[in-house]
C-alpha cells in the first residue's frame, strides 16, 4: 500500500517519542550514576558537569559484585542445563510414545504452569530447608528452579518435536540405532532452534529472580544480583549515585545478553504466550 510521505515522517517521529518514553528511566539511571549524590538530588535531569566515575568502584565493593555475579551465573547455567536435558528427553517421550500414563502426567504438568508461586512458597521452604537441611545453599534453588520450568520446557519442545517426521526415527531404528542413541545423536541436534529459544527465555527469568533466591540464601557470599540490589538499596538509601551505578552494573550483563539474543527472546515471548 502506498502512504503519503508526510504520514511516514509523522509515524517515525511518533515511534521515536514512544521509544524515548520506554527508555528514559534507564537513560536517567545511567546519567545519574555519573554524578554526585548532591547533583542528583538537586536536579535528576541535568547533565553531569564532571564525570564522577568513582561511584562505580564504590558500588562494586559495596555490592560484592563479583560474588553475586558468580552466584547468579551458577544458578542460571545449572538450571538451564537441567531443564534442557530433562525437559527435552521427557518431551520426546510425550511426542513419540502413545501411553495413557504419559499423557496423564503431561497434561497435569501443563495445567500446573499457571499456578501462582505463592501457593508453593511456604511448603517448599519447609520441605527443603527444614526437613532436608538445605539452608543457605544454591542447591535447592537449582532443583526447584528446574522443577518450576520443567512443564514449560516440555510444552515448548514437544510442539517442535511434533513437526519432525517419525520416519527419521524409523529409519534410524532400522539401521539398528537404540532409542537412547537415537535421541542424543539424531533428534537432539535437530532441536537446536527451539532449545535456544527455550534457554534464553528460562535464563532471563532465573537471572532476574528475586523471590526464590531470597527464600533460601541468607549470607552475603551466597547472594544473587537481584538480592544484592535490594540489600544495597535499603542499606545505602541516602547515597543515590553509587546506587545508580550499582543498578547499571547489575542490569548490564542481561542487557548485553538481550542485544545478542534479541531475536530468540522475542520469539520466546510469542511462543511462550500460547501456554496456559
Amino acid at each position: 500500500m502506498v502512504e503519503k510521505r508526510s504520514t511516514k515522517v509523522w509515524l517515525f517521529v511518533l515511534a521515536v517519542a514512544i521509544t524515548a518514553f520506554y527508555l528514559f528511566p534507564l537513560v536517567l539511571m545511567a546519567l545519574n550514576s555519573l554524578k554526585t549524590t548532591g547533583q542528583f538530588t538537586m536536579n535528576p535531569f541535568s547533565l553531569p558537569t564532571r564525570l564522577v566515575v568513582e561511584n562505580y568502584p564504590q558500588a562494586f565493593t559495596q555490592m560484592h559484585f563479583l560474588s553475586s555475579l558468580k552466584n547468579t551465573f551458577i544458578l542460571t547455567v545449572s538450571i538451564c542445563a537441567l531443564v534442557a536435558v530433562f525437559g527435552s528427553m521427557a518431551a520426546y517421550v510425550v511426542s513419540r510414545v502413545k501411553s495413557k500414563f504419559v499423557s496423564f502426567f503431561y497434561y497435569f504438568m501443563i495445567a500446573s504452569m499457571c499456578a501462582p508461586f505463592q501457593a508453593f512458597m511456604i511448603p517448599l521452604v519447609k520441605l527443603y530447608s527444614a526437613r532436608l537441611g538445605f539452608s543457605n545453599s544454591l542447591i535447592p534453588i537449582i532443583y526447584i528452579g528446574t522443577g518450576l520450568n520443567m512443564a514449560f520446557a516440555m510444552f515448548l519442545v514437544r510442539g517442535f518435536l511434533n513437526t519432525i517426521p517419525m520416519e527419521i526415527d524409523q529409519a534410524a531404528m532400522i539401521d539398528g540405532c537404540g532409542s537412547v542413541r537415537l535421541f542424543f545423536h539424531i533428534i537432539l541436534p535437530m532441536l537446536t532452534p527451539i532449545m535456544v529459544t527455550l534457554l534464553v527465555f528460562v535464563a532471563m527469568g532465573i537471572w532476574n529472580d528475586y523471590l526464590l533466591s531470597s527464600l533460601f540464601l541468607q549470607t552475603q557470599d551466597k547472594r544473587t544480583l537481584p538480592m544484592m540490589i535490594r540489600v544495597f538499596c535499603a542499606q545505602y538509601s541516602n547515597d543515590y549515585s553509587p546506587m545508580m551505578a550499582g543498578l547499571v552494573m547489575s542490569i548490564a550483563p542481561m542487557l548485553i545478553f538481550y542485544l545478542i539474543c534479541q531475536k530468540q527472546i522475542l520469539a520466546g515471548v510469542v511462543q511462550g504466550s500460547v501456554k496456559g
Partner: protein, 293 residues
C-alpha cells in the same frame, strides 16, 4: 513403530520421562498438597511443632478486613493494569507493523524494560517518582506533581499501575505485533479498495483477525497482575500505610514478617483458587473461539 515394542517403550518412559515427572512431583505437586495441609495448622515457622486447627485459618482470612482490602486493591490494580497495558500495546502493535522505517529496531528498544528485573525496575522508578517528577512539579509550579505520588496513599496505587503497564505493554506489544503480522495483506488491501477508511479497516478487518492475540494478552495481563510481587516490593513495599499491598506481597508479609505461616498458606490457597478459576475461564474462551473458526 516405537510404540509397538513393549519393553523398549517402558524403558524409554522410565529413563526419559520419569526423571522430569519426579522433579515436577517433588517441586510442585507434593509441596502444593503439603501446603494445603499447612493451611490447616497453626505454625510460627520456627518451632518444629504445629497444631492442627482445622479451618480456623480460612475463617480468619475471610473475616479479616486486611485480606479483603488487599484482594480488593489487587482487583482494582488488575483492572487498571489490564486495560492500560492492552490499549497501549495494541496501539504499539499497530504502529510497529505499519510501513515504518526501522520498525525492528523500535521493537527491540521498546521491549528493553522487560529485560530488567522487577526489583531493579522498581528502584529506578522510585527515584523517578521521588526526585524526577517532583522536580518537574516544582519547576512548573504544579502542586499535584510537586509531592511524590509514592508518599500519597491515594495516588501510590496509580503509580504502581503506571509502572506495571509501562513494562507489561512492551511485553504484550510483541504478541500483538505477531498477531498483526499474520493478518493477510490482501484482506486489508481489499477492504481499502472497497472504500473502508483506516478506522474501519482496523475495527472490522484487523481486530477480528487478531482476536486470539487479544484473548492471550488479556488473560496474560490478568494473571500477571494478580500475582504481582517484585515491582510491588521494590517500588512501594506495600506503603504508604499499606495502601498498595497486593495479595502476593500480603502473603509474603504474613509469613515472613508476621510469622503466621498457616494463615499465609490459607491466603495462598485462596489466591491459587482465584488464578485457577481465571485459567479455566481462559481455556473455555480459547476453546470456544477455536470451534467458531
Amino acid at each position: 513403530m516405537l510404540a509397538k515394542r513393549g519393553w523398549d517403550r517402558w524403558k524409554l518412559i522410565l529413563l526419559f520421562f520419569c526423571p522430569a515427572v519426579f522433579i515436577w512431583l517433588t517441586t510442585m505437586l507434593i509441596p502444593f498438597l503439603y501446603g494445603i495441609f499447612i493451611s490447616f495448622t497453626k505454625w510460627d515457622g520456627i518451632a518444629d511443632n504445629y497444631t492442627l486447627i482445622g479451618l480456623a485459618n480460612y475463617e480468619k482470612v475471610f473475616n479479616t478486613s486486611k485480606f479483603w482490602m488487599s484482594l480488593q486493591r489487587t482487583a482494582i490494580y488488575t483492572v487498571g493494569t489490564v486495560i492500560l497495558s492492552n490499549v497501549v500495546a495494541l496501539i504499539l502493535g499497530l504502529l510497529l507493523t505499519s510501513s515504518l522505517k526501522g520498525r525492528n529496531a523500535f521493537r527491540t528498544a521498546i521491549y528493553v524494560p522487560n529485560v530488567v528485573g522487577g526489583v531493579a525496575m522498581g528502584y529506578i522508578w522510585q527515584y523517578i517518582f521521588n526526585y524526577g517528577f517532583t522536580r518537574i512539579g516544582q519547576q512548573l509550579g504544579a502542586d499535584w506533581l510537586a509531592t511524590s505520588m509514592l508518599s500519597d496513599p491515594s495516588k501510590a496505587l496509580i503509580a504502581l499501575v503506571v509502572v506495571s503497564s509501562w513494562q507489561l505493554s512492551a511485553y504484550l506489544m510483541i504478541i500483538y505485533v505477531a498477531g498483526f503480522t499474520n493478518v493477510p495483506g490482501e484482506l486489508v488491501e481489499a477492504a481499502r479498495v472497497d472504500g473502508a477508511n483506516a478506522w474501519r479497516v482496523f475495527w472490522h478487518v484487523r481486530m477480528p483477525m487478531i482476536r486470539p492475540s487479544v484473548t492471550i494478552c488479556l488473560f496474560l495481563a490478568i494473571v500477571r497482575s494478580f500475582m504481582v510481587f517484585e515491582i510491588n516490593l521494590s517500588l512501594t513495599d506495600g506503603g504508604p500505610f499499606n495502601s498498595t499491598e497486593m495479595i502476593a506481597l500480603r502473603i509474603y508479609n504474613t509469613a515472613y514478617v508476621s510469622l503466621k505461616f498457616g494463615n499465609a498458606q490459607a491466603q495462598a490457597v485462596v489466591l491459587f483458587v482465584i488464578v485457577a478459576f481465571i485459567s479455566v475461564l481462559q481455556a473455555y474462551f480459547t476453546q470456544k473461539r477455536e470451534v467458531q473458526m
